[in-house]
Symmetry: C2
């Protein structure tokens, strides 16, 4: 389903929705006395602005959980609207637990929230991935992105440490992802077990792709964090067909959702176009989609 | 604060609240047409039953998130009631993210929910622990339990793997926990950075304690999962004073919260004591507290 959505849009790009109150456009903040309602208005605005421009949107769960139960309602609302508008909805919640608790997280993300993909943290062991891979989720096209090699600087203090067998921690995790995903490879050749692999670790890119030939990589770190076109190319699957089967989904958050400037905003409001910030978001998403489409041709 | 609460109760025991609908007492299910309201009634019943018997209660976030925003409201309600009744509230949510997202998780758990402790998953790197250790949280007595050596069987497929430097993955993480906690050691000699260390890994217990001399261990796995008195003793801090400073908090979930049997329940209902299940929970918590108090004398 993700591969098909990428093919429809022509570019493997995901917009990351990480709304933080004090960064919202002034016009959005001014319109809502409740912070969580400003978060709702902004989220729905971004979703509408990027629908049709990109195949997928990623919701940062923490930004909604911050507001408790009302925040979770806004998150659920956002996922529903995104899916109605044809976007694949990724819930970036980095969940990880054992047995029945993991089953509950899967039920929360896939059953209740109707997210299409969920990010999962693997520290508890490979068995803790299983509940998300239950047949009823797989047949509904649900998948997980497992944290393997993240883009934050501190990840090097752990994920690159060498194991006794010569692999790094991240390589060991990559092998676990490949093993878990080998049972669930669809007609596209892609598995429902993907991986988070940052675009900021060029030395590791080719090796991680070799270890996970069938995984879709959710790729943060392009642009502002230093990831380049070459870094993306190194993550693309060898010999893949359509752009949807290249196995990368480049995700960008702040550079897209905060693409407006307050100066522009003030000018637009004067001429009665208070939604000018949405135009800036749409333009930015479209520019990024073109850029990544060129890279992944 | 946790050490003081343990000293007041005389036993380092925590009841794990992992409510699953189909395991609730029939009388609770029958009284509520909305599943989430049955979860609320059961949660509040357990909290009231164990308050005064044990120092702490651990809420399994997944069991509440399963019900979306209403579930989160129940969780928030439960934490508030638990704290009112003098229980230290641990939110078992195993969160882990970078930068601003981690700040939002900390704000959700400590600022919004008012949990006293939060479980945290460390795969993203040691820098991702920092937002939870901000001064405003430390001064309010908030702390984290970092996943180090968990009690699930599959954890051995990852946490015990040897690193090139001779440490296991869990030992490497233990050293990171010790380093992160070294700045925040209170008058009790204990740090606000604790660790989850299962009671089911006897070979590792003494070594993990040696690597984290100042950490409080949240210890699952006692009893039903196979952990013994000797396994708990091996995790206790050497030369510690009062029971609150011994650095262990043994946690038990199902053996306590599902201590009633439906047979008993039916008999009790006949004589008009529909809350008999709460008596069974209270008895079970009290028995466990006595048992662990003996072990940790």
């Amino acid at each position: 389903l993700l591969a098909a959505a990428i093919d429809r849009c022509g570019s493997p790009v995901c917009v990351g929705l990480d709304p933080v109150l004090d960064k919202l456009p002034a016009v959005v903040r001014a319109g809502h006395s409740e912070p969580v309602e400003a978060i709702r208005a902004f989220s729905l605005g971004v979703i509408r602005a990027v629908a049709g421009q990109v195949p997928a949107i990623k919701f940062q769960s923490a930004c909604y959980e911050r507001y408790g139960a009302p925040g979770l309602s806004v998150l659920e609302h956002g996922i529903a609207v995104a899916r109605e508008l044809g976007l694949v909805a990724i819930l970036d919640a980095k969940r990880g637990d054992i047995g029945i608790s993991a089953e509950h997280y899967a039920a929360a993300a896939f059953g209740r929230m109707h997210a299409d993909w969920l990010t999962v943290s693997p520290y508890l062991g490979p068995d803790t991935l299983e509940p998300y891979l239950a047949e009823r989720y797989a047949t509904a096209g649900k998948g997980i992105f497992v944290l393997v090699r993240t883009s934050n600087p501190g990840s090097d203090l752990f994920q690159t440490l060498p194991m006794a067998d010569g692999r790094s921690v991240a390589h060991m995790m990559a092998d676990a992802v490949d093993a878990a995903g080998s049972r669930s490879i669809g007609v596209s050749g892609l598995s429902t077990v993907g991986a988070v692999v940052g675009a900021t670790k060029p030395d590791d890119a080719a090796r991680l792709r070799a270890r996970m030939p069938n995984a879709i990589f959710l790729v943060p770190g392009y642009g502002a964090q230093g990831g380049t076109a070459a870094d993306i190319v190194a993550l693309v699957r060898a010999g893949s067909g359509s752009v949807g089967t290249r196995g990368v989904l480049v995700t960008a958050s702040r550079s897209v959702i905060y693409a407006f400037s307050e100066q522009q905003g003030g000018q637009l409001e004067k001429i009665g176009a208070a939604d000018g910030w949405m135009v800036a978001v749409a333009d930015s998403a479209s520019t990024l989609a073109s850029e990544i489409a060129m890279i992944c041709r």
